[in-house]
Symmetry: C2
DNA sequence: CCTTATACCTAAAAACATTATGCATAAGAT
DNA sequence: ATCTTATGCATAATGTTTTTAGGTATAAGG
């Protein structure tokens, strides 16, 4: 039994969080659930990765946060995209696309004959 | 002036090396040149990442190596894909595809209205 | 002889992820 | 009443990989 979801690739967590938050503010636990759901459990974010990432991004002023009450009636911290966060989302999306295309160029070239 | 090539995404260097070597044995310096060329300089592998990666992969028996003479008449170490390496190439290619598709599912969902 | 490209390597530091914990409460089940 | 599960935040220790920065050496062309 291998694990069903892969290790996070460097840099992709920030992009995922930025994108998820572009639809509206959410709290951490909900962000991680959305990532799991929207990727059909392909990508699962450990809490030990999620919360430090949110702090990092807030420090960099990509996000702002405020405490509030969740739908489940719990005290939670909501994160909101800042304008710098929106800029980052755009930039990192472009970079991700470029990276994928670059990988494709290598992977699509014929390798060793069977 | 930003740098023109991106940071490597975790895990993708191994896949790139495996793929490049699937066309035939090459030495380290040549591998890094091919990655640069085939990605049109989008991905540049630092030597400090390249050589440790080759050693790791050899330790894991994905590659074998032997010293030889390059086209430039230099003593170089040639790396060759092992059968386990071929297996890894297949597996990691599939994983990469799945990861890209998972990212796409998130990134393609409409975000915040302009 | 000087410079450039080629070619290998490693150590220190930074960055990020995993694993393992810990704490706390709402809600539903027994 | 109490147990369990899901929710929700957080950090510390560890591990892996990458960047940065340095070192060594030779072939070839000017």
């Amino acid at each position: 039994m291998g694990k069903q979801s892969m290790d996070l690739m460097r840099g992709t967590l920030d992009l995922l969080i930025l994108k998820i938050l572009s639809a509206g503010s959410l709290h951490g636990y909900e962000i991680s659930k959305r990532i799991r759901e929207q990727t059909e459990a392909e990508i699962f974010v450990e809490e030990g990765a999620l919360y430090p990432a949110l702090r990092r991004m807030e420090e960099r002023n990509w996000l702002t946060s405020e405490w509030g009450i969740s739908k489940n009636n719990r005290e939670v911290k909501f994160y909101l995209l800042s304008s710098e966060g929106k800029r980052q989302l755009k930039e990192q999306s472009v970079q991700w696309d470029r990276y994928v295309r670059a990988m494709d160029r290598v992977l699509k070239i014929a390798g060793s004959p069977a």
